[in-house]
Symmetry: none
């Protein structure tokens, strides 16, 4: 066995991940139809044909990219919730800030923009994403809100809609970050943005102070 066989082997085993990372970048940047498999292969440092050793088609690659990209988001979010102890607002705080720290600056952060752009072309993928990420993410936020309302920490409001309003600024942060060129995405300081969002929520959720 040659001295760099293990290195070679490791590379081989990483091939799918490398290809998916390259594909994610390009899908986010150019959309599904606008991405050329040749560019994906080149960015991953392999030939076009090699792609087909690991993925049956462009669409299969796309689905894999989405599914793999979605897992860390779930793991991250649910781990945070499971470990939480403390007030409802503190949970919200943790969820938003820690989730950003774990996901927001990684390659996976482009997924929401990709979903938004392509959901109507790939309804199955959209459903998968909805069931596995949106629904579970909403449940996380929803339970925190419900707990706060039950304890009197928050004013009673329609929980489902409030969930949307808590999530929306975070999603927009991610989406704009990957949709617009630098300087047009509105936010060069995500931490500050999230902090201010929480600041508004702190009193906002409490509701009319007589």
């Amino acid at each position: 066995m040659s001295p760099n066989a293990s290195l070679r082997k490791r590379r081989k085993e990483d091939r799918p991940a490398e290809l998916m990372a390259a594909a994610l970048d390009l899908f986010v940047e150019k959309g599904f139809a606008g991405t050329r498999l040749e560019d994906v292969a080149q960015r991953a440092g392999v030939s076009k044909g090699t792609l087909y050793l690991y993925f049956d088609s462009k669409e299969a690659l796309f689905n894999n990219v989405i599914q793999e990209g979605v897992i860390p988001v779930l793991v991250e979010g649910e781990g945070i919730a499971a470990r939480h102890q403390g007030s409802a607002f503190e949970l919200l705080e943790k969820l938003l800030t820690n989730w950003w720290a774990g996901i927001g600056e990684t390659g996976f952060a482009g997924i929401p923009k990709l979903i938004v752009a392509e959901a109507r072309n790939f309804p199955d993928m959209a459903r998968f994403y909805y069931e596995n990420v949106i629904r579970r993410g909403r449940a996380l936020i929803g339970s925190a809100l419900q707990r706060g309302m039950d304890s009197g920490e928050f004013a009673r409001r329609d929980v489902e809609t409030t969930v949307d309003l808590v999530i929306a600024p975070i999603l927009m942060l991610l989406i704009l970050r990957h949709a617009m060129a630098d300087g047009q995405n509105g936010q060069d300081n995500p931490q500050h943005y999230i902090a201010l969002h929480l600041d508004l929520l702190r009193t906002g959720l409490k509701g009319s102070q007589l």
Copy 2:
């Protein structure tokens, strides 16, 4: 003049608008690359070649669609602000609810999703949109916030970031509505959603009580 001469003339004069309306629908649904000009033509009830009597290329059609789609948004928003008299929060309220009433349910409401999906493929278009819509829309909201902070109606906060947070839920409403299939877009009751957003803002903007 024959009885249907005016009818024919009207059709001709409306052709560009009809084509652009058809194109907007399809661009929003399928994205730029995923839209076939033949489908645009068919939806507008003409043949493929007819498109080229009015637009030089697919990209020219796209640019026209964006530019024309942007104008009503501007006109609507700035009209609302110009006519306003009253408190800062009331202005916010009017801007968000009236703007939705005027734009939110029209065909133009798909534009933000389209921008988000295609901005990186069409930087010039993105810049145009940024300069003509985002910047001016932000200025509108920003001046209302500034007025409220100056008068003591709102707590002092970073205005630019607060603008983002006021706008984000509205944008997400529009984007999800055109990105996801019915039942997955989170909101079947936009008025309620906007009202709740304003409700959270009412106390949120005021800031820490006591």
Copy 3:
């Protein structure tokens, strides 16, 4: 009858000729396939549809252009020959110089280049041209040469091939003039060129002296 009715009528009657003149120019410049009927119509100052009032198709227009363009060449050449009295070389001289004077600088001078470029795409047209121009033109030159050889004015040579050699420089003059841009067509002084050709022929046809 309005005062300019006759003028109007005259224009109408000239339409086909105007269209053919415009078409000839463009066919010579761009070739058959490279010429757009819209450009022909525009150059003639009419709309595209009007062309079809006078010509059944692009190919019909082309054939008409060739046929009409060929007639003056014939008339000119045969008139010269019929009127001639004098030596054989003087006839050659007259044919080449007078024919140039009558045709060489007119719009019809582009026809040979057009034939050369398109003959293989339009064999019928090529045959027509061959029968009606080449054959008759060759006969003209050939009879002059034959007469000179019979009278001892010229050395005896293969008449058919000599005809080619007498004609070739004149054809090249025409062809290059319409094929190449100014400054690349070799000849800015056709009269001088023709005179020198005749000068070479004068002794050349006579043949080996002593």
Copy 4:
């Protein structure tokens, strides 16, 4: 190495040359606009898309065909001149007959017809051809003529124009051969034609005897 590996490799390396040969034939026959890339591919025994592995566009293919087709003409002609020793007329004789032997019956012989037909549509290509073939070919003939005039072998005449007259019948031979169908191109015996041209020149260049 498998038995037909070298065969396959050779095929690949020959692809561009095979494609250009096929393209040259068709461009000469039908002109640039009249040639379909699908036909070029088919004649070379490959599919449409394969063309684009080697040439960026139809126009790039055309330019390559011209440039490659021009090189042998140059090499042939200048080699003949460089090796020459003897009288000026003998040089002319060699240039015309040997050049014909080396080029006249090959595929490259169609190039002049192609140039004549397309020069006005491709001015850059025409300039290239003018600079690299016409100018150098003329210089070759011109120096032979000049030498003959200086030595008294030829009568003194305008050299540039005489060059045109020496070349013209050869060019016409080539052009007609590729422009007209068999039986209409005037010459089925090029050697005889060239010999007679030289025969006329022999005394013609000497000029008026006594």
